[in-house]
Symmetry: C2
């Protein structure tokens, strides 16, 4: 019996991924958006997306789209959910899985971004996006913030060794709110896998600041983290 025939009577659909690419810089997050210079919805703003290819997992498609646009590889991406309304894309039916990523706003291939007519837009200045992309962004933000509260998130955007001020800025950007410095440091001090390296940074401040790193040997999925 030919196993390829079990499902042949069922319909097939275009499957896409849409990437919510958050860019971190001191002061807040931005989103990498595309001003569409192609149909459909030419001239409007949208997330960066792409179609899943034969023989490619949906996760891999998301990674490919991210790499094509930014040149970055091996970036943590997480699926938010799939969006499957019939008319979500008015052109033709497409089911799309949304993924988010968080990257350093200064570490991507500017040429590639320009070639795709993509721009960084601050989170609090977002234009209206096509289709259900506004919803995708809202969902992704909520998932990412939820995660950031209970797992170290985005530490890979900082240098290998970082100051607590840098770490706090990262968290303030992700959460979109200010954090009390003393309370923040108290909480970090409880996590033994974020450890002082003994090195001192002399570039970011006059006084100098202790450098820390995340010790991957001490960190596991069950390690406690609470901001």
């Amino acid at each position: 019996m030919n196993t390829k025939s079990y499902y042949s009577s069922y319909p097939k659909f275009h499957m896409a991924v849409d990437c919510i690419i958050f860019g971190f810089e001191e002061g807040g997050l931005s989103l990498l958006l595309q001003k569409r210079n192609f149909e459909p919805a030419m001239g409007e703003w949208s997330l960066m997306g792409g179609f899943v290819e034969e023989g490619e997992s949906v996760d891999d498609a998301a990674r490919r789209v991210l790499t094509n646009l930014t040149g970055l590889k091996d970036i943590y991406m997480r699926q938010v959910k799939a969006y499957g309304e019939v008319e979500r894309d008015p052109g033709e039916r497409v089911i799309s899985a949304a993924y988010y990523a968080l990257i350093d706003i200064n570490k991507q291939d500017k040429e590639l971004i320009k070639a795709h007519n993509a721009f960084w837009v601050k989170l609090d200045e977002l234009p209206h996006l096509i289709f259900d992309h506004d919803q995708m962004v809202a969902d992704a933000l909520s998932v990412m913030r939820e995660k950031a509260l209970s797992k170290p998130t985005g530490i890979n955007l900082l240098p290998e060794e970082f100051t607590l001020t840098q770490l706090q800025s990262l968290y303030e950007a992700i959460l979109g709110e200010e954090i009390d410095k003393r309370n923040f440091r108290k909480r970090i001090a409880e996590m033994d896998y974020i450890e002082k390296t003994g090195h001192i940074d002399k570039l970011l401040s006059r006084r100098g600041a202790a450098l820390y790193r995340l010790n991957p040997e001490k960190y596991s999925k069950d390690s406690k983290f609470k901001i």
Copy 2:
């Protein structure tokens, strides 16, 4: 220009839904599983699934599968995520979105279930499931429990008017752990949208117990709920 042609060069995929149907009864949750009497993976255990049809949203496909199996309509279902590994179904490539639902284990169409060769299995006695269905169940449980901690969940499984003991049993089943009675009642007392009706249940206990109901007019998405 024919809008139907924008995407025509991209591949298409079978799109399925898999339903994690939790059944509530005093004492714990069960899962409605299918002992497959068809290929592929005949004889093995799996979630109840189905293919998305032309002109049908993915959400609607999940609702249809639930209705076909249980006879139940208008049940809250929530998507967990989409699963898109290339080889996840060894027969042929299928992308699947997982949805969970929580229903009353005594309120479904037993004939339909029998016709589908489906059975209720206690959560702590689950067999190994085919493909990535174990992962789907784990993910769904985690999403549902997360939700139950911050939103009233499953109250529709109780009678219109219910006792606090019933509500506590529901929550103990969902969370899979015992809850302190006094602390539980204290927390419920803080939610003004769960209100005493003034009626007394005389069936479930000798003493009789005050009946409560969820007042939908007082309840909104932003209402506080914390177990």
